[in-house]
């Protein structure tokens, strides 16, 4: 019964006793006291609590700061949608009110000196700060028939990635995710956005392994997302696309399609100038030489192939690479670093290497 975070909002809040009192009164939170060592849950309120599951509104201390969230245990996620929306609005309104509160209502200006300037909650997410930096990640999943037995593992691993991202507000704030699936054709399963706000569909098996359809759709999606982010006032890092496949391409012209849609030739000015960092991840029958050629651009990208016979472990290991890359890259954004591709997990069957794109 792992808890599932249904909703979370980062807080920039001075949690003094007056803020506690107000949240206690307005949201019914029970505060746990300031002396408990190492506590993560600082306050809570059961929204639902019965034998089948529990839903808890709680104030938590994370490594990145405070957050308020709704956590579901058991089938506690089955919380009525309209009540849930009402709750979120109430919480957002109340925390917005705290932001507007004068530093010390009781004492006037007498005690202003001690209180930090950063007072109140920031209900980000909706309000885009001008020039906010985001890092888009695209996860492309092969759903061809050869993946039939491993679809559940892929589905589960994808959800675990989502959970891990959501549990780290700093990562969730900066990273944007989109999930694409491909077989004979390709489609966008989850549009680009916060993982914490994304509803991942259940992946299902389709047809063959047409790389070209996936490359074309990715290029179109990248273009549309870039324009959307720009018009919303975001600054975007170069996107990173993880391409997970278990087989050989069924289309003969995949090389040309790749070169045309997802690479850029500086000398001729041909191709896609806004190309992503393309990271191929191969399992089962995915040929290493193809994976080498798909790692783009050379010097910035790498290829990864899981050589073990256990496909579920291979998927797990490769998603470990994705998770580590996402976390390291998102946390490095403040320090001006960009994409930081992770090395294969120690002890795993994953091998990795530099790109051979130039020899294509």
């Amino acid at each position: 019964m792992m808890p599932l975070i249904l909703w979370r909002m980062s807080l920039d809040l001075v949690l003094d006793d007056r803020a506690c009192k107000r949240l206690e009164m307005s949201l019914g939170l029970h505060f746990h006291g300031g002396n408990a060592l190492g506590e993560i849950t600082l306050a809570h309120r059961f929204l639902r609590d019965d034998l089948s599951g529990s839903t808890v509104l709680r104030l938590v201390r994370l490594s990145s700061g405070l957050a308020i969230e709704v956590a579901a245990f058991g089938d506690g996620g089955a919380y009525p949608q309209d009540e849930f929306q009402g709750l979120i609005e109430q919480v957002s309104r109340e925390l917005g009110g705290l932001r507007d509160e004068p530093p010390s209502a009781a004492s006037g200006s007498e005690s202003h000196y001690w209180r930090p300037e950063k007072v109140g909650a920031v209900a980000e997410r909706i309000e885009v700060e001008a020039g906010q930096v985001v890092m888009p990640f695209y996860i492309m999943c092969d759903v061809s028939t050869s993946m039939a037995r491993d679809m559940a593992a892929l589905d589960g691993t994808l959800r675990r990635l989502q959970r891990e991202v959501v549990e780290q507000p700093v990562v969730d704030d900066i990273a944007r995710f989109s999930v694409l699936t491909f077989s004979d054709s390709a489609k966008v399963a989850t549009p680009l956005g916060h993982f914490s706000e994304a509803a991942l569909p259940s992946l299902s098996v389709e047809g063959g392994t047409n790389y070209g359809s996936a490359f074309r759709l990715l290029a179109q999606t990248l273009d549309a997302d870039r324009q959307r982010l720009r018009s919303a006032g975001y600054l975007s890092y170069r996107p990173c696309a993880f391409f997970l496949t278990d087989g050989q391409p069924s289309d003969r012209d995949w090389k040309d399609t790749f070169r045309r849609t997802l690479t850029y030739d500086r000398s001729t000015g041909r191709g896609n100038r806004s190309h992503p960092v393309f990271v191929p991840l191969g399992i089962r029958d995915a040929p290493v030489d193809v994976m080498r050629q798909l790692a783009y651009p050379p010097g910035r990208s790498r290829w990864y192939v899981a050589k073990g016979s256990n496909v579920q472990e291979a998927i797990h290991d490769l998603f470990g690479v994705i998770t580590s890359t996402v976390v390291a890259s998102s946390q490095a954004v403040g320090g001006r670093a960009a994409l930081a591709l992770a090395l294969p997990p120690p002890g795993s069957d994953v091998v990795s290497g530099d790109s051979s794109f130039d020899t294509m």
């Binding site: 003094d16 300031g34 993560i40």
Partner: protein
Amino acid sequence: MQAWSDASRDKSRNARHQGVRGPPRSEHLCCAWKASAQMCRIVRTGRSPRPPTRRVRVARTSRFCILRVVSKDAIEPPIPDGSGYHARSRDLMFLGIDSDALDRWRSRRSPLGMSAIQYDGFRRALLRALERDDLSLDACDIRLKGSSAEFFSGHHKQLPRGLDAIVDLFRATRGRMPESWEISEIEHRLRNQWITDGEFPRRRPFDSLYRLSIAREQSDVDLQIASDEVVRRCEEVIVERGLSPEGARLAHPVYDFVQKDLIESATPHLYLFALRASDALNRHVSLAIFPSSGPRNTTQTHGPLSAHFRDGDWKIVPTPAPSETSS
């Protein structure tokens, strides 16, 4: 070492079963005794004359002995705070602990802050949570720690005396500077309602910060759970995330208990039990997880702060039982 005058020892024997002795009295004497009794220097610190009957107790510290004249309102059997101070009836009065609650606490029928009925419900709920988390009771050693079990908090939590200490503690606890009237109120409660004779306990008694209005919340209930199985599950949570369960990822770098954010994933019913119990008791129930061997013995480095297993720890038997035993 404890030395009692014969007369007071007899009186003490006669009165031991009474629990609290006599009305609150503010006066007392204390002596610092270096090397020998002949060098004893008596320092009078009380404001009123010495009471006609008194008992003398000697507590040995590392460098010298302290001779203390125990005031008439001392509680029997004594509840020492380790510095030579023994809890007095005025403390109980200020803290809102009646003689029944004290009796229950002494006989381990309920910790401070809980009635016997609440404690019974608390244990039953704890048992259900462990069962629902698929944890064998044999695999868990559960102990009640902190001031609800021991009357006084740990040695590192000293009762503030002066203005600076009060303000520092208020800021740490409430996250803001106190208003001047709030400081006055705390000082009034401390010096006029509670410690009227200048004899302070060194460690904080149960609920004392709440009663002084320094803390908003009452003292919490500290549960220490030692179980290799729970630790193993916490490690699994880390491993599932593709990380190695080493160092600070698993254990708190300072307090050495398993990082508390792992508990809700490893033992979700135990986590929910703590939240429910906090609601029911209106005081926080804190969980600290350790390996089956218990917290490391850090007496060498941390002295009395070490949280290792001790004889006399309050072991909780989650099944309903008439009373609990020392380990």
